[in-house]
Symmetry: C2
Subunit: 175 residues, 2 copies
């Protein structure tokens, strides 16, 4: 059963913030599946997106504990909201000339792109939700995946509402 | 002067890894500009990409200190290598009907995409290097950016060589 939760945290861009957050995760035994941290629309504020498994983690506790931390401005579980979710992956695939055209076909079907070519390999760039990225990885596997990097998921509410405006006091259902 | 360093770390997917790494960053006063953590091509191994400012941080020390940590399998500074770097951004822009066509023009020029539309806003998805993402953000700013999420940069060596094969013992030049 898929019980993954997507949490967004807005944190001040100050030394030690990530340490305090990671330390809480550790103390509580939270298992973080992916993490993305980058700048937000507000100078001085970073936006973190992380995914935790609700089957092994008390998500409500994650949110409550992190909310108490200094420099954490806002934290919301947007799992049950109507949202756009994307991740980016770079996949280096073994590709001798005969394999190359088959790989290009797969890339076209997925509307992915090829961002580097060498005599025996290609780098494929793909964006999409986790399922889409998993699907192309599965199809490229037989050619030989030399290396892969994935950004972790980022998410945003659909429509005009801003993600940070979600009411963080709402009870979080964890199972 | 741009003195940003891009570091890749391969870490075992175990509880507490991120905490140990973030704790080192804290102790040493390292200023992390972006961070992406996701699964790699090897089951049980996560790949972290982070960017530090070499002007304020002793990058050589970052690498040396983290290399000593348990569960850190490999860490390399790939800044001076020939690499592909990408990040993904979702940008929610205010867009009443008259503004919409102007925004679509900008999106087309950047080969970006529109992944959500409501009566007064659009979500733009873009992938590229940091400069490209910054450039579209600057052009969209006058319409009103309601929110933005960026994954942080991920990087991979061009050509057939695998990033993890880089010799980590090479001296790192920090300025």
């Amino acid at each position: 059963m898929n019980n993954k939760h997507t949490i967004i945290a807005f944190v001040e861009d100050k030394p030690g913030v990530l340490n305090r957050i990671a330390s809480k995760w550790r103390q509580r035994g939270f298992n973080i599946e992916s993490l993305a941290v980058g700048i937000s629309e507000t100078p001085g504020l970073s936006r973190m997106t992380f995914v935790v498994d609700g089957a092994t983690t008390d998500v409500d506790q994650v949110v409550k504990q992190l909310k108490k931390l200094i420099n954490v401005i806002k934290i919301v579980d947007i799992t049950d909201e109507d949202m756009v979710s994307r991740e980016l992956a770079l996949i280096k695939v073994s590709a001798n000339p005969p394999a190359r055209s088959q790989i290009i076909e797969i890339v076209d079907i997925f509307r992915a792109g090829i961002v580097d070519v060498s005599k025996d390999s290609l780098i494929v760039e793909i964006t999409g939700d986790e399922e889409k990225v998993n699907a192309i990885v599965e199809l490229l596997q037989p050619f030989g995946i030399k290396e892969m990097v994935r950004t972790g998921k980022v998410s945003m509410l659909r429509g005009g509402q801003v993600s940070a405006s979600l009411d963080e006091e709402e009870p979080v259902i964890t199972d």
